[in-house]
Amino acid sequence: MESKSLSRDCNNPNPDPKMAFHFLRALLHIQQSAATTSFTGRRRRIKRAAYASMAYSSGARRAWSRALIHTLRRRRQRQQRARTAVALPRRIRVARPPRREVAAADQAQVLRKLVPGGTGMEYCMLLEETADYIRCLATQVQLMRNVVDSVTNS
């Protein structure tokens, strides 16, 4: 782990302690409830924890982090609602029209789908948010790699 060095920052294994703290805390929480959840459930939770720690480390400063927090909260609410509404009869589902294949020729559109909150941005801001998003993603990936390495090595 000490041999790892971020390309951009000065040889530190962890340039973002806030992110690390939040992620590790979430991991701990997941582990404590790990006995009950399945592998996929755990994986989903860990992925969510990763994105959450990313978003919280940027806080409300960035548009993408705000959008990401909003998305995460909305999904969580939906999950909770789904859990409490278990007893409801199955609703008759109307077949949704098949999603049209959106031509991915417009790269800005593709980018907007990738970056959280991108649909509401204009091009200039989209580029800026993408840059910050990439930076944060790279940090998160580095952090997760460090965790995995430290666990598998020790």
Binding site: M1, E2, D9, C10, N11, N12, P13, N14, P15, D16, P17, K18, A20, F21, H22, L24, R25, A26, L27, L28, H29, I30, Q31, Q32, A34, F39, T40, R42, R43, I46, K47, A50, A52, Y56, Q107, A108, V110, L111, L114, Y123, C124, L127, E128, T130, A131, Y133, I134, R135, L137, A138, V141, L143, M144, R145, N146, V147, V148, S150, V151, S154
Partner: protein
């Protein structure tokens, strides 16, 4: 050039003054011829419009400082109508603008420099009768030749382009304008003033961006705004290219965008893959060892039992503190921790360089306070974590 200047001139606050200035600018040709004979006598210090304006400027200086000693009366006559309007400065012995600022205001005459460059006769810069003692080399501009014009002589000519570009007239504030303009101009090494996107005058409260049209390009407000926007986008694209590895060599926006998209997608896939690995390995995670990732002040991760929210209230910290089996563990108040964490993230990142084990002991230097106590508590902390787990 006249056309682009006149609107700015016309919109100046002092109508008469700006009108006069426009007039004086048209007198340029005459002035040039007037200056020319006297020009040879002056020391050649590099082409600049100061040579062009030097004479009328000096006229102004004369008028300002000591009404009397003169350059050719004809040029004085040509330039005098311009200077007569300056309130209270005619014949006033003390110059209104301080000397130091004048030298900085001088190079702001972007347009005038432009004109001066076009006049090859002005190979030398003149600073005759610099009663102010010849200020520093303010015009180290696109003309690429330091001018040692007398600062007060520059104050007056520096007014004109500022007014033109700034679309307002502030005699007293010309120094600030000049400073910013100079700093901007010195970056340009061509004789053409580029678009300046700055709040030119720090003193004035005008919020909009002043952009100067490039030579040979449309001066339409729409195209100017578009150009500014395009430049912004290009700057962001450059930033993105630096972030994404391997993007520097690619030319063309579409390919770069493709690369960026690929990079984002690959990063997201990596997160998913790593989360899968973590899920597989999760039961074996030893959170004590993982503490090394965190700044030591975070305290044991056990403290986070049952809390998934981000808001770290002091309450859970203190409760977990009490609940922690290790009595000797010393934890700093959470407010302090977060305050430090938020306030000086750079510090923390800098100190992550060390080996994690070293970090445990010396990581307290992250937070400037309480190094000694924390240093003792941290190793105890991790040990207790291991036992608790």
């Amino acid at each position: 050039m006249e056309a682009e200047r006149s609107p700015g001139v016309g919109s100046g606050n002092s109508g008469t003054y700006t009108a006069e200035i426009a007039e004086s600018l048209r007198f340029e040709e005459e002035i040039q011829s007037l200056i020319h004979p006297s020009f040879d006598a002056s020391p050649a210090t590099g082409g600049s419009f100061t040579a062009l304006l030097g004479l009328p400027a000096n006229q102004a200086v004369e008028l300002l400082h000591e009404p009397g000693p003169g350059e050719p009366p004809a040029s004085a006559a040509a330039s005098s109508p311009v200077w007569q309007i300056r309130p209270g400065e005619q014949g006033a012995a003390p110059i209104r603008l301080p000397l130091g600022c004048c030298s900085s205001t001088f190079p702001s005459n972007a347009a005038l420099v432009d004109r001066a460059v076009r006049f090859p006769v002005f190979a030398a810069e003149e600073s005759p009768a610099s009663s102010s003692g010849g200020g520093g080399p303010p015009l180290r501009l696109k003309v690429e030749s330091p001018d040692s014009d007398s600062p007060p002589s520059l104050s007056i000519p520096s007014e004109k382009p500022q007014q033109r570009s700034a679309k307002r007239k502030e005699a007293g504030k010309s120094k600030t304008k000049g400073t910013t303009k100079k700093s901007k101009s010195t970056e340009k090494n061509n004789a053409v003033p580029k678009a300046e996107a700055e709040d030119i005058n720090g003193g004035d409260k005008l919020p909009y961006v002043h952009v100067r049209a490039r030579r040979g390009q449309a001066t339409d407000s729409h195209s100017l705004a578009e150009r500014a926007r395009r430049e912004k986008i290009n700057a962001r694209m450059k930033l993105l290219q630096e972030l994404v590895p391997g993007c520097n060599k690619i030319t063309g926006t579409a390919l770069v965008l493709d690369e960026i998209i690929n990079h984002v997608q690959s990063l997201q896939r990596q997160v998913e893959f790593l989360s899968m690995r973590l899920a597989a390995v999760n039961p074996r995670i030893d959170f004590g060892a993982l503490d090394s990732f965190l700044p030591a002040e975070c305290g044991p991760l056990q403290a986070a039992n049952g809390r998934t929210g981000v808001a770290l209230d002091p309450a859970p910290w203190s409760s977990s503190d009490a609940a922690s089996a290790a009595g000797g563990v010393r934890r700093l108040p959470p407010q302090q921790f977060w305050h430090v964490d938020l306030v000086c993230p750079q510090q923390t990142s800098a100190s992550w360089e060390r080996d994690p084990h070293v970090l445990l002991n010396s990581g307290i230097s992250l937070f400037g306070y309480d190094p000694a106590n924390s240093g003792n508590s941290v190793p105890v902390n991790s040990n207790q974590l291991k036992t608790e787990l």
